[in-house]
């Protein structure tokens, strides 16, 4: 498996491992079978309201539903010291009511209309998804616009306290009480320099969650939750003109905010090997190797996705075959590029079989990486990975809503600074790669002497 099972607040979302897991076929296969699949295209209309809100509309009538997808261009990277986890805590508060929506009504109104909703926070952005039957579009716009304009009118310390407890339990469930759950937090701390916004966890430190106050909520909303710092995608069974009129009606009155200054992170570079061990309540040790890699869409980023597939995507991938299939020294291996706008990391993790050592596993991993530095992968290995990636793009075109659906992807591409319909170009980043590009990415970005090595050992039996 290529994609990691990391919880979704990671930067991975940016680059949606789910989409990658899905893909498949054009150019290479065209040569083989003689037909080319249709070019990926997601036609859209785009406009901006006077208050700066960017709006993108896409019509897809295959199922009578509409996805209303809002991205606020703020994430845990915008947090200040002592308030880690705040962007995500704030996300929870967005569902608790606003001036014209009583506490609880956000959910009850949507459920009674047959709708579903969710939100997620990453290092770099916060997204909100509301999927409704097509007849409930205006209800969704009313709810989204009300919390964008009037969240603070009914916000109270009690509401903050309530969601603080929920978020702390989310952290307990996803990190403390989950096997190896604390490792990803440690790994980010080792990879990124102190003060870098990717060095702290999106879920936040417990003491910072405790410290978050009602006044923090007020300031954060005013600073980051303005329409000019957001983008709204509406995709599905819609009429363009009527939808535009509804957007103007409901969002037009939201006041514009001050521009948000871009983040200026400290330089991040690994200059040596950093080693660490930790313990957890687990029966088998797990090895993590991590590198700092090019930011999303930069040269090398796509090649490293292909590297992850060549290393750990399927039974014939280098590490899977060596560690799990042939020697059976490991139970599980994952390799993944986690791409973000301020930088990326590439992670390999391997869980040992009972009785096998981290040393022999790490030696085997290093041998396989060395082979890839010395000699490019075979044409078939690369093509196999590209065909999988291409198929996943097509699979991703079926869904308009939820996380990773077309609405979310349009917002993702827009947020990255490109055209919302960047699907074909994004795919071309992969299909244009050669085996030599894959080799070069390993050589340049995954050196043995500049990386992080983290081992999670079982706690001693008491």
């Amino acid at each position: 498996m290529r994609a990691s099972d990391r919880p979704p607040e990671g930067r991975a979302i940016k680059h949606c491992p789910i989409v990658l897991a899905l893909v498949l076929l054009p150019i290479a296969l065209a040569a083989q079978s003689g037909t080319t699949p249709p070019r990926l295209e997601v036609p859209y209309r785009q406009f901006q309201l006077a208050n700066g809100l960017n709006v993108i509309l896409h019509r897809d009538t295959s199922v009578p539903i509409v996805a209303v997808n809002v991205w606020y261009h703020v994430g845990s990277a915008n947090e200040r010291p002592g308030r880690t986890g705040f962007a995500h805590l704030f996300e929870h508060l967005m569902f608790e009511g606003s001036q014209h929506v009583k506490e609880g009504e956000f959910d009850t109104l949507l459920e009674a209309a047959g709708g579903n909703n969710n939100g997620s926070t990453s290092n770099d952005r916060t997204n909100y998804v509301v999927d409704v039957p097509a007849n409930a579009l205006e209800l969704a716009l009313f709810l989204e616009s009300d919390r964008m304009a009037y969240l603070l009118d009914t916000m109270s310390p009690e509401r903050v306290n309530g969601q603080r407890d929920v978020v702390k339990n989310e952290r307990r469930q996803s990190y403390e009480n989950r096997p190896y759950g604390m490792a990803s937090i440690e790994l980010d701390k080792m990879l990124w320099p102190a003060g870098h916004p990717y060095s702290w966890p999106t879920i936040g430190h417990m003491e910072d969650l405790t410290a978050a106050s009602h006044e923090d909520v007020v300031q954060f909303f005013k600073k980051y939750y303005a329409p000019n710092n957001a983008s709204l995608v509406i995709a599905g069974d819609i009429d363009f003109d009527r939808t535009r009129a509804l957007v103007e009606k409901w969002f037009g009155e939201v006041p514009k905010g001050a521009p948000v200054e871009p983040i200026a992170p400290p330089a991040a570079m690994l200059t040596a090997v950093k080693r660490q061990t930790m313990t957890d309540r687990v029966r088998l040790p797990r090895l993590f190797l991590g590198w700092l890699t090019p930011r999303v869409y930069a040269p090398g980023d796509a090649a490293l996705d292909v590297v992850s597939s060549v290393l750990a995507g399927g039974k014939n991938s280098r590490l899977y075959k060596r560690l799990i299939y042939d020697t059976q020294m490991a139970q599980e291996v994952n390799a993944y590029q986690q791409s973000g706008p301020l930088g990326s990391s590439f992670i390999i993790d391997v869980t040992a079989r009972p009785g096998r050592t981290m040393a022999e596993i790490q030696a085997a991993v290093d041998e396989e990486l060395a082979k890839l530095r010395q000699e490019p992968p075979s044409a078939r290995e690369v093509q196999r990975a590209l065909n999988q990636i291409e198929a996943s793009f097509y699979r991703g075109m079926q869904r308009v809503g939820s996380f990773g659906g077309k609405a979310d992807k349009l917002n993702s591409y827009f947020f990255a600074g490109g055209s919302p319909d960047y699907f074909a170009e994004d795919l071309a980043r992969y299909t244009s790669l050669s085996a030599v590009d894959v080799q070069a990415a390993v050589t340049q970005w995954l050196p043995q002497d500049r990386r992080v090595e983290l081992i999670v050992n079982p706690e001693e039996k008491k």
């Binding site: 014209h100 959910d107 309530g162 029966r283 014939n316 869904r399």
Partner: protein, 494 residues
């Protein structure tokens, strides 16, 4: 971090709707029509809803191959992909009493060597096509599922047919998978959210009933299982008279049928081994509490319930609505109480596992360790409270949520095929999906109350808590729910 991973993961919605044969479903009406004026927004009340849209589902074209294998085809031309599922009417429910895990292991072995290809060759060829091919089994059925670019359908079908019909069960691959499965069992012991459902199933169904043990079996049965058993199981049960093909995607019936015939037509027609139904489990008659010790755990994983109903229950629709109100939606009583009101948990939910025989009803959550007893008290408050009549508003919200969100369950060909599988496995009538919404909307408050009286009897429920015994036992014990015992993880997962 997402807002609500847990309730969704715990899952509860029934599978949704599909029209067979024809085509159009009115999804219901809610509220009054709205006019779309440009004037300033009136926020004094939420906008009304127009008439609910109609969901158009292409018809199911029902055919059969020459050997009798039924084929259901639904054309869906949105993307150049096709989903092909071979469903076999056999599953863990057919495991022999001394070989729990056989159906699961057999299904997992199908792509580990088939026809003339090795496990590695199969994987390489499937991936090179850009396809996904997997084999799996549940308590009720087994399946080989293919999702492929439509222009690779022919070679992909050839691989699929080898995997489904001509697996070779190589000894070395059996050993490899055995070790993988044994290690996975070992790893499950680290994870409270993995231990809890296994401990709960054991408490409700006991060690002898098939549902009391994981589909993958136990350490002892896994160690004893042989390739010969798997070959025999496959030969006896993977038969055309016991199977069917479901096709959804960018194909026409006329074009795909010859390809299916070429791939599956040679499957001999011999009758399958007769199927014995999983016996109904003995219902619990008195409450019991089990603490499974997980020292230092920051949360306790709670499961509460007893034997529920089979998928064929005549009370299916009242139970779906009942569960939506109790723990099957974000605004359900359990989630509102445990998460929104008290903040004890990231999410609480409930569900009925409906299988060919009665599976469990269960409510559950992960709760912070120091609130374990408080959370149990609130669970029981809600489980008892559901006996009282539900209000019309709560009933309408639940029914609309289930009925009106139907269309969203048909976005992908994979979803579509899964709905058709449900129809086939549980022998649902042709009108099932076209009548689904009407059946949901017909549920009355009285029917919900009656279902609650029959199927939610908290004083007889089994309670399983996987957590830090030292910290939670005094509080749990003081609740005096029922006789309490404590077990180690190794005792629960021998």
């Amino acid at each position: 971090m997402t807002r609500r991973a847990w309730p969704l993961a715990f899952g509860l919605r029934p599978l949704g709707l599909l029209a067979t044969g024809l085509a159009t479903l009115v999804v219901g009406l809610l509220g009054s029509a709205t006019t779309f004026t440009q004037a300033g927004a009136d926020r004094s009340r939420a906008p009304g809803l127009g008439p609910a849209p109609q969901l158009k589902i292409p018809p199911i074209q029902k055919r059969a191959l020459a050997n009798g294998l039924p084929v259901w085809i639904v054309e869906q031309h949105e993307v150049p992909l096709v989903q092909v599922n071979l469903v076999i009417h056999t599953g863990s429910g057919d495991d022999p009493a001394n070989a729990f895990g056989l159906a699961s292991f057999t299904a997992a072995m199908l792509d580990e060597g088939a026809g003339t290809r090795s496990a590695l060759q199969i994987a390489d060829e499937v991936e090179f096509l850009g396809a996904a091919l997997g084999s799996t089994s549940s308590f009720d059925s087994s399946a080989v599922r293919l999702n492929t670019p439509v222009r690779q359908l022919r070679p992909a079908l050839a691989l699929m047919a080898d995997v489904a019909l001509r697996p070779t069960f190589p000894a070395a691959e059996v050993e490899r998978l055995r070790q993988e499965r044994l290690t996975a069992l070992l790893q499950a012991k680290d994870d409270a959210s993995a231990v809890a459902p296994l401990a709960f199933a054991r408490a409700v169904f006991g060690p002898a009933h098939r549902y009391g043990t994981a589909a993958t079996g136990s350490e002892a049965t896994l160690k004893a299982m042989t390739a010969a058993q798997m070959r025999a199981f496959h030969a006896a049960r993977y038969r055309p008279a016991n199977a069917m093909l479901i096709v959804a995607g960018d194909v026409t019936a006329a074009a795909v049928l010859p390809q299916l015939e070429a791939a599956f037509g040679a499957w001999p027609m011999a009758p399958p081994a007769p199927r014995t139904a999983v016996p109904s489990a003995q219902q619990l008659t008195a409450g019991q509490v089990t603490i499974v010790d997980m020292p230092s755990a920051e949360q306790s994983q709670i499961r509460i319930g007893w034997v529920g109903v089979p998928r064929s229950s005549p009370d299916y629709f009242p139970l779906i609505v009942l569960n939506t109100i109790l723990g099957g939606s974000f605004t359900s009583r359990l989630n509102q109480n445990l998460r929104e009101e008290h903040g004890y948990s990231y999410g609480a939910s409930s569900r009925f596992d409906m299988r060919l025989s009665a599976g469990a009803f269960q409510a559950g959550a992960g709760v912070q360790t120091d609130k374990t007893a408080d959370a149990l008290r609130e669970f029981f408050k809600e489980l008892k409270g559901i006996a009282a009549p539900v209000s019309e508003a709560e009933l309408a919200k639940a029914k609309n949520y289930v009925a009106l969100s139907f269309p969203s369950e048909f976005e992908t060909i994979t979803d579509l095929a899964a709905h058709l599988e449900e129809m086939a496995v549980y022998k649902l009538p042709d009108t099932y999906f076209s009548q689904y919404i009407a059946n949901v909307q017909a549920v009355t408050a009285a029917a919900v109350q009656k279902a609650a009286a029959s199927y939610i009897q908290p004083e007889k429920f089994a309670v399983v808590v996987v957590g830090d015994r030292k910290a939670i036992e005094p509080g749990v014990s003081a609740l005096n729910l029922a006789p309490l015992r404590t077990l180690s993880v190794d005792e629960v997962l021998p």
